[in-house]
């Protein structure tokens, strides 16, 4: 088991390394340059271009720049933003808590609603609740964040003044000074979290419902029912666990989806998270910020999937046994 985990870990590292290399190359192959983004039309001045190019170190060959960056990154230094001159590490660290809050809250809302919803549907397939759920999840899947967001803002912020229309309210700050990292109050990011969770919720509910229905047709379920266990008991104690593999894979993969969703949701709700930072950095060709974000996102993604893989073993003894034999 230990060698399995170790092997997976090495693979994880090589994936992250490959991602950093290719993202660095691709970013630098993009047309346009930070010089144009920073100087605007003034970039037409050859002297200004040359000065800024040297100042940013863009005069070095691309591979040399990559290995300089990698050497610094391994020491925890992701460089300085081309545009704001802020440390990339601190710029990203400032944004992570809010996006994490948003993603976790979105995931909790999705799972918290999708699991009971799918269980209820599987109890009476094609019943009124199942049909209602099927229709509403389809609607949620079809509703983009930029429609659902303003609609919810109109209802809950303008009409009823329950939630703020935009931005976040500081719950507490991490660090001090004039640019602290903020952690937002759950209330102020509930609305964006609901928007973020909408698509996931629908997907989770539909997948789990399908798996539950398939499991409920199994012989061991018939056996459990014949022993006199109630339908709810059987559903909860016998059917849910073996039906949750697809859901778990989806949850692992949804990290990427949540991040992508956060890009839009943060923009709609004016939240200073990783999405906003990434969009601004791409627009400004602030390569080092983008590169830092790519490293973080890639690391986060492979870590979550690594954990998901490990959890298969916990959920399914057959996987555990196969790994031991392997």
């Amino acid at each position: 088991m230990l060698s399995y985990v170790g092997w997976r870990f090495v693979r994880m590292l090589s994936v992250v390394f490959a991602v950093t290399l290719f993202s660095f190359l691709l970013l630098n192959l993009l047309p346009g340059s930070p010089i144009n983004a920073i100087l605007g039309p003034a970039a037409g001045d050859p002297v200004a271009r040359s000065e800024l190019t040297n100042q940013l170190g863009l005069n070095h060959p691309i591979f040399l720049r990559y290995f300089i960056w990698l050497g610094h990154a391994l020491q925890g230094n992701l460089g300085q933003s081309y545009v704001s001159d802020q440390s990339v590490t601190s710029a990203i660290a400032q944004r992570v808590p809010l996006t994490l809050e948003l993603m976790i809250m979105g995931e909790v809302i999705s799972l918290g609603i999708a699991i009971p919803m799918a269980m209820l549907c599987s109890l009476r397939p094609d019943g009124w609740f199942d049909r209602l759920t099927s229709g509403s999840t389809l609607l949620l899947l079809a509703l983009p964040a930029f429609i659902l967001g303003p609609t919810l803002i109109y209802v809950f912020a303008i009409r009823f003044h329950v939630f703020p229309a935009s931005g976040e309210t500081t719950w507490f700050t991490l660090g001090s000074g004039t640019s602290p990292t903020i952690v937002a109050t759950p209330q102020s990011i509930l609305l964006p979290a609901i928007v973020l969770s909408a698509g996931q919720l629908a997907l989770f509910a539909r997948v789990l419902r399908g798996d539950l229905l398939a499991t409920l047709k199994s012989e061991f379920i018939l056996m459990a029912r014949s022993k006199g266990f109630s339908r709810w008991y059987v559903l909860l104690h016998h059917a849910l666990r073996p039906s949750s593999f697809s859901l778990m894979s989806l949850v692992g993969l949804s990290v990427g989806g949540l991040l992508a969703g956060a890009l839009i949701v943060e923009n709609v709700f004016a939240l200073p998270g990783m999405g906003t930072l990434l969009i601004t950095a791409i627009e400004k060709r602030d390569y080092l910020i983008v590169q830092g974000m790519v490293v973080l996102i890639a690391s986060g993604f492979v870590t979550v999937n690594f954990i998901t893989d490990a959890l298969y073993g916990v959920l399914d003894p057959r996987v555990r046994r196969a790994r031991l034999i392997g």
């Binding site: 605007g40 037409g44 050859p46 200004a48 400032q94 935009s166 601004t280």
Partner: protein, 542 residues
């Protein structure tokens, strides 16, 4: 047309910043341009927190190295004061400076400072501070553009600075009213770690906190050198890039002030009673920039055909919901720099077809003329460009549309890697600041970086721009710039598409817009020109 949609927002426009963007300047000799804005007869109340919605974040608060667009100027004016500002007559007059005078030949300017003013960190505002900032500004890739003719700044005594120019320069006070003249403390400018993130100025508010892409907070400066002019205790700027969310934030009471360039929002707000709206009439035009160094648009007849084939009124009706206005030159009627240029104000397909035929005759070609029309895909750009495409198609000009993201788009313009691009620029408060973009000396061949993106070399334009830069007489300068606008109509490097609306919107509790005063007590400009909209003297009613 909506300014932001057309292209390039912050980066380009602001920048023009180098000298200007919003907040640019006016010549020391320009006359009145604007009427005052809305005023109130209520007595100002003190206290409260003013929340303002901004459409964009700014990359930093160093007046020498950062790049301020409209949103940047809104914020910067709270913790910085400019050396000059505009009065209601559109004149750049001393603000933080006590006097700004020039030698007889306009090659030397002398800035006298008010005694006893200190930055919020306690450092004195003295000649050394001004020299440091102007010197760093001259060396800056961004601000250096605006300070073009400046050679050096010298401290004469503790409160007097002499600035020497390489040539007569009449518009220098205009630059002192822009980013280059917003005074930051030496401690901020010399900081290697916080020059962009911790602004220190002499302004009516002091910087408190900046959470990038979210909020920036300033609090009332208790030691401000103009006691009693500020009323609110605190201003919180909220970055809300999505225009719908920004308006919804105002309607929910979360913010009390915002601005918008969305025609649909302006139309929607016309019927509202809860919000007050002031529609500005700024000079920044939207146009299609033609690469005069690349075929087929190196042909004058074809460029002129585009002037006549373009129906601005149709574009304004369809894209700006009728809220825009027709453009014939960089300035609008009513501006001190407006001189009728002879540019066609309405489409004339017959004339356009004749010119296309002339193009074919000159080049020995036939059939539809083909080239690529570029644009960014932001906002309503695609719809507008499709409309232009249809208008031109009627006269035998068949353009294919190409959408490019902003950074590449600017790059293409700089290196001449385009044929025709939609663009927004010019119309600065003093035309001298825009001269950089029109001079032949900056029109390098395609493939080389150039500031004159249209790459039009024209000796008449050069001569008139030189008169505009060096002649102190407003009448002479106006005539010179009028000649430049006429040359634009004759040479057609720019196909004007219109001028979009821009509105300041406030909630029911906000007052004082248009009431700001200068240190001498006279009204401050800013609502109807490209000067900075003053917000530091606004107040809230309970």
């Amino acid at each position: 047309m909506n300014k932001r949609i057309w292209l390039v927002t912050a980066g380009v426009l602001a920048l023009v910043a180098a000298g200007c963007a919003k907040g640019s300047s006016t010549s020391a000799t320009s006359p009145s341009t604007t009427a005052a804005g809305p005023t109130t007869t209520l007595a100002p109340q003190n206290g409260g927190t003013l929340n303002i919605g901004l459409d964009a974040e700014t990359d930093g608060w160093d007046p020498v190295t950062s790049e301020w667009a409209a949103a940047g100027y809104f914020v910067a004016q709270t913790f910085f004061d400019p050396l000059c500002a505009y009065d209601a007559a559109g004149q750049a007059v001393p603000y933080l400076a006590k006097s700004v005078t020039h030698s007889a030949n306009y090659r030397t300017w002398t800035i006298g400072l008010r005694p006893g003013i200190r930055f919020s960190n306690g450092q004195p505002l003295n000649a050394a501070a001004v020299v440091l900032q102007l010197t760093l500004g001259k060396e800056s890739a961004l601000v250096g553009q605006a300070l073009g003719p400046m050679v050096k700044a010298i401290a004469v005594n503790s409160l007097t600075v002499k600035v020497e120019m390489s040539e007569p320069w009449v518009a220098f006070p205009a630059v002192l009213a822009s980013q280059a003249g917003f005074m930051a403390a030496p401690a901020q400018l010399e900081s290697t770690t916080a020059s962009t993130t911790q602004p220190i100025g002499t302004g009516p508010f002091t910087f408190q906190q900046w959470i990038m892409d979210s909020t920036l907070t300033v609090v009332k400066n208790p030691d401000y050198w103009r006691p009693g002019v500020t009323h609110v205790d605190k201003i919180v700027f909220h970055v809300i890039t999505d225009p719908t969310t920004r308006l919804q934030s105002l309607q929910s009471g979360q913010i009390q002030f915002m601005y918008t360039t969305e025609a649909s929002q302006i139309e929607q707000l016309k019927g509202q009673t809860a919000e007050s709206m002031y529609v500005q009439h700024l000079d920044e035009p939207v146009f299609i920039m033609l690469n005069t160094d690349a075929a087929p648009l190196n042909n004058l007849a074809l460029r002129l055909a585009l002037e006549y084939a373009t129906d601005q009124q149709q574009l304004i009706s369809a894209i700006d919901l009728g809220l825009g206005s027709v453009v014939t030159e960089p300035y609008a009627p009513g501006s001190p720099w407006y001189v009728p240029s002879g540019y066609p104000t309405a489409a004339n397909d017959t004339k356009a077809e004749q010119l296309v035929a002339e193009y074919h005759h000159e080049t020995g070609t036939s059939g539809p003329v083909k080239f690529t029309l570029g644009c960014t895909s932001a906002g309503t750009n695609p719809e507008a460009m499709q409309l232009v495409q249809a208008q031109w198609q009627k006269v035998g000009i068949d353009v294919s549309l190409s959408y490019t993201e902003q950074a590449t788009y600017i790059n293409n313009a700089i290196f001449g890697n385009y044929q025709a691009n939609c663009w927004t620029q010019f119309g600065d408060i003093d035309p001298d600041i825009d001269a950089t973009w029109w001079l032949s000396a900056n029109a390098h061949p395609n493939g080389q970086p150039a500031l004159n993106f249209a790459r039009l070399s024209d000796s008449t334009t050069d001569a008139e721009l030189q008169i505009g830069r060096t002649n102190p007489s407003y009448a002479v300068r106006k005539a010179a710039y009028g000649a430049v606008w006429h040359q634009f109509a004759l040479e057609a490097p720019y196909i004007w598409l219109g001028r979009g609306p821009n509105a300041l919107v406030s909630g029911p509790t906000l007052h004082g817009l248009g009431d700001a005063t200068l240190p001498g007590g006279q009204r401050q400009d800013g609502l109807d020109s490209d000067a900075i909209v003053p917000i530091d003297q606004l107040w809230l009613s309970s």
